[in-house]
């Protein structure tokens, strides 16, 4: 499996939603996990529903094409999302020397706006990380978004600045 991160940026939820709908993904599949510590964030990993179906089908090795995600397929996606989210966050935590506590993953299916806007406004800023997977012949583009409250944005900036200070 190849994984690359071509983009990291602060954008509004609307920006993320536009990027996903631009790919023709009105409905998405999301794996969410909460992380708390010096800053509190909810990490949301999102795929277009069609790609999530292909991903699970490939992992399960099922030759019956899936039309929707059943309970067991959703759990498989939760596991895959969990591995990804845990490794990204523990990587960040190691670099920035932070301690986080994490929750278990949960899966959500629905229109982009519903998934992103369970709380807050579409104009809220989020930390968006685009990730591209390539597994065998399958190209999957996912978005990882960290929802941060105002205090956490400030705390993230301070921590990153502190980290950059240690480099110089």
């Amino acid at each position: 499996m190849g994984l690359s991160v071509p983009h990291v940026e602060m954008v509004t939820k609307l920006g993320v939603s536009d990027a996903l709908t631009g790919q023709g993904a009105d409905r998405i599949c999301a794996v969410r996990q909460e992380f708390s510590g010096v800053l509190n964030t909810e990490a949301v990993l999102m795929f277009p529903v069609q790609q999530s179906l292909q991903l699970v089908q490939m992992m399960v090795g099922d030759d019956v094409p899936l039309e929707q995600l059943g309970e067991m397929e959703q759990e498989a996606l939760a596991e895959i999302g969990n591995i990804l989210l845990n490794s990204v966050v523990s990587g960040v935590a190691d670099v920035l020397k932070l301690r986080f506590e994490g929750s278990l993953p949960c899966v959500e299916l629905g229109p982009v706006q519903d998934v992103l806007c369970a709380q807050g406004q579409m104009t809220d800023q989020v930390l968006s990380v685009q990730i591209d997977f390539a597994i065998d012949a399958l190209q999957i583009q996912g978005y990882l978004v960290f929802l941060l409250d105002v205090a956490s944005v400030a705390s993230l900036k301070a921590t990153v600045q502190q980290f950059l200070g240690t480099l110089s």
Binding site: S36, E75, E79, S90, G102
Partner: protein, 328 residues
Amino acid sequence: MSGPVMSAPPRDCPPWSAWVLERLQMGLLVLDAQGDVVFANQWLLTHTKLAADAVLSKNLMEVFPQLKDSAFAHALAQSIKSGFPTLLSQTLHPSPFPLYLPSSQRGQDKLLRQSIRIMPAGGLVADTMDQRYTFIQINDVTQSVMRERLLKAQAVRLKNMAQVDVLTGLGNRRRRDDVLPTALRASGKTAQPLSVIMFDIDYFKQFNDIYGHLAGDECLRQVAQVLRDVFRRPQDMVARFGGEEFVAVLPETDGQAAQALAEQVLQQMRALGIAHSGSCTAAVVTISAGVAVYDPAGGQTPDRLVLAADQALYAAKSAGRNQVCGPQ
């Protein structure tokens, strides 16, 4: 946030907490920092058919040697290292622990399907304890797996039923619509040719008028049998397309082979010798056929390919029926 079970020091435990943990209808295991089991609830002992002293104060990998080097062991190590909870799904890891129904004879019955959560005491919770504990929660999801499997099997059965032509037992138009695009994609991938043949019974309307609809139905069934006899490879698909039209989708078959097979169908039809006094072609029921070939490099749509076969069939009709016409 997470791991509330271990967050309270023992002295604050309400009197019912041990009783509740014992009787929870899921497996619970608590490991200490060395990976030794410090707690296993009754559900887990009953379903592993192990006694408490075979489990407690022993290393988890010693109690369950089948876990060594497994995906579970890897996930456990990762989870303890990162301090983040981990989920192992039944779909990707059906039965890591040797859990059986209590009523079954060990080894004779199937393992229970398991959904597993690993919760390391990370972050602030760890500070409230004397060491870093990890708890493992195992849910039996066998029933859900069975239910989903049953529903899927039913869906497949209903789908197949919806794609059968009741009169002849061949596929119907829906089957063709389902199979053809997939077959074309496969042909494109493997660069193997694919042929489509359209068949039409000559003067079938007149046959019905003269001999009646029951005889017409019987004639359709006989044609279906001939088609089944000629196209017998598992990958061949034959469907009744309209009233008296049939279509054969033949993967890995070039135009020449398809034409020969179509000739065989025509020949077998004539050999059946079903009398047809209303035919201007022969004294018996005959068939016309049109062949079209899919060029893997060309990338035609399914509709265009069927149209090409239809045009070839039309050419066979115009040229006097009871014959095969190839690609135009």
